[in-house]
């Protein structure tokens, strides 16, 4: 058996680009093959959002304010999809790949582990985007939210850098979770509900300041280490005005760019460390082998 189709050795960039798409493929195709996920990823999240919408409608007497808060909830509900994806799918991905027997094949491949993780992220973003878009559509059609893009360039840039920083964080978690194994689930639980609160998924981040004063401001600053916090706040400012913004838009974008660099750097570092430690301790391969 001899292949007569020799091809020029691909450049490093092309190799990794192919690996990225190769790994994104199962997520995207898999999602299309099991249509039941559409129900779970679109209908059920709308129920959670609806609860907050009804509370705000019932409790806020001023219609303009109520509408604003409902708009905030819809954007928060949409962005939840990405946070949940990073926390419960992306972070645990390498752990599951190891359990499935794929990890050692990924590790033997002559490509950057970042491109394989990037492929996982890209695939995850696809399904999360369907969920996010369906939440936005439901917000507009069912709850009458009006979205007026006031800062389109900022909106696009803030969304892009939120995604990059967020999935960079997911890549970092993926390495850590693989090393910690099952213990890492506790971390995910710890980061779910408290982050909903601290990042202001269901209310403006500035709300902390209104309620708690100076300590509330510092809670917001602390929560800004999670990229979704400023991403949410920035996008809300672009859609509903800067009045309720936590920081000026330019500053939020700058912090998100910095967080992108930081998390991608940390992800590379964590991956290298994970690989080295895995080779030393024999953790890259299945335990029973």
């Amino acid at each position: 058996m001899e292949f007569e189709d020799d091809y020029p050795k691909p450049s490093w960039f092309r190799m990794n680009y192919r690996a990225l798409w190769g790994r994104a493929y199962p997520r995207i195709i898999g999602a299309n093959r099991e249509p039941s996920w559409v129900f779970f990823e679109t209908f059920l999240p709308i129920l959670a959002v609806a609860a907050y919408v009804f509370i705000y409608k019932a409790w806020i007497p001023e219609p303009t304010m109520a509408e604003l808060m409902i708009g905030f909830v819809i954007v928060g509900g949409a962005m939840t999809a990405y946070w949940m994806n990073v926390l419960w799918s992306m972070a645990a991905q390498l752990y599951w790949e190891k359990e499935m027997g794929n990890l050692e094949l990924f590790m033997v491949a002559p490509v950057s582990r970042m491109s394989i993780l990037g492929g996982m992220a890209l695939g995850g973003m696809f399904t999360s985007t369907v969920r996010a878009v369906s939440t936005i559509i439901a917000g507009v059609l069912l709850f009458g939210v009006s979205l007026t893009v006031q800062e389109p360039l900022y909106l696009v840039l803030i969304f892009i850098f939120t995604m990059l920083a967020l999935y960079g964080m997911g890549m970092m978690f993926a390495s850590l979770y693989m090393m910690w194994g099952r213990e890492a689930w506790h971390m995910s639980i710890l980061l779910t509900e408290p982050i909903y609160l601290a990042s202001g998924f269901w209310f403006p981040l500035k709300g902390f300041q209104y309620m708690l004063g100076q300590p509330g401001f510092w809670i917001g600053v602390g929560a800004s280490l999670i990229p979704i916090t400023l991403g949410l706040d920035g996008m809300r400012q672009c859609l509903f005005g800067t009045e309720m913004g936590f920081f000026p838009l330019w500053l939020e974008l700058a912090v998100l760019i910095a967080l992108t660099g930081l998390f991608i750097f940390l992800a590379r570092l964590a991956l290298a460390k994970m690989e080295e430690l895995g080779k030393k301790e024999g953790r890259l391969t299945l335990r029973w082998q």
Partner: protein, 331 residues
């Protein structure tokens, strides 16, 4: 005369693992205990040993998935510790019982995905996959989801995954483990054909099937408890025991087999009970053929009946028994 370069070179390779149960006491399990090995480019080399002998550990180290605790290992002239990327460009790996890929994808899609990790252009990858599917008699399953495949079909797909990247060196870790006769034969034929069709390709095969090692390998190393006990061609290894006679005996209703062990002139003795059939297979390595009569005479004394007697040529298992003192499938 030109020297054939080494595809693999291992010197005093050691690897220890901390076991979970005894971690608190910092006890270590030795998987490799100073192994030395040289495999030439173009060789089909076999590592033969029982479970837990250290075969998979050697492969994991050479495939850059595991660091050795000490010693040196080089693959295609590159150090496994320092040049992992260079090694990975030239190798691939297939393990028996492997469950890689995603069940929701088809065989074609899974293979295409893995081809992308090696930068194979899409069209070429599809062409290679198609060809290998035909060779492996898996064409009909090309569009079947991986989760619907049988064990044999899955392993054929794994073989395609490993070979489609056209590696200079491929590690096959028990590739026919748990497969039926036909699937095993097809895989063995494929490996032989692969080696024949292009010079310079190297295969490192681990197995505990002696027949497989005997049939396929240019050279075989026998490994036990992390140590390489012997390394030579199968024919030369078998010559180690040709001075001795080998007798295989099948007996029924055996009550006490210890009597056979004590017969003078029995150098090595192994047995295997087939409880369902009620038959016990006895394998003897004898100092002298004359002892056969003593052994046969012992059968009725032990309350048994002879089912068959076979004076056989030595096998690699006999070599293993001679070197290790127990059978390949005994713990």
């Amino acid at each position: 005369m030109t020297m054939i370069p080494n595809a693999v070179e291992i010197k005093d390779l050691r690897r220890t693992f901390k076991t979970k149960a005894v971690k608190s006491k910092k006890e270590l399990v030795t998987a490799l205990d100073g192994a030395d090995l040289e495999i030439k480019e173009g060789e089909l080399f076999g590592l033969l040993g029982p479970n837990g002998a250290g075969k998979t550990t050697i492969i994991k180290i050479l495939a850059t998935l595991l660091f050795p605790t000490s010693g040196k290992a080089e693959v295609l002239g590159y150090d496994v510790m320092k040049d992992a990327y260079q090694i990975r460009k030239n190798i691939n790996m297939v393990s028996g019982g492997e469950t890689s890929g995603y069940g929701i994808l088809t065989v074609n899609e899974n293979l295409w995905m893995f081809s992308q990790f090696y930068g194979i252009p899409g069209k070429i990858a599809k062409k290679r996959i198609k060809r290998l599917l035909r060779v492996m008699d898996l064409e009909k399953k090309a569009d079947a989801k991986v989760r619907t495949l049988s064990t044999g079909e899955r392993q054929k797909a794994n073989m395609i995954r490993g070979f489609m990247t056209d590696p200079k060196l491929i590690f096959l870790d028990e590739p026919t483990l748990g497969l039926d006769v036909n699937a095993s034969r097809l895989i063995r034929d494929f490996i032989k054909d692969w080696m024949r069709s292009k010079t310079g390709r190297t295969v490192l095969l681990t197995t505990h099937y002696m027949m497989e090692a005997d049939e396929l390998c240019d050279r075989v190393a026998i490994i036990d408890q992390g140590k390489i006990l012997a390394c030579d061609t199968p024919a030369n290894l078998k010559r180690l025991v040709t001075k001795e006679s080998t007798l295989k005996l099948e007996i029924r209703k055996v009550q006490d087999i210890s009597a056979f062990q004590n017969i003078k002139g029995v150098k090595r003795f192994t047995y295997d009970h087939n409880i369902t059939a009620g038959i016990t297979k006895l394998n003897f390595i004898l100092d002298d053929e004359a002892i056969v009569a003593d052994i046969v005479a012992e059968v009725p004394k032990s309350g048994s009946k002879i089912v068959s007697v076979e004076k056989s040529e030595p096998t690699l298992e006999d070599v293993f028994v001679t070197l290790v003192g127990r059978g390949l499938h005994e713990n």
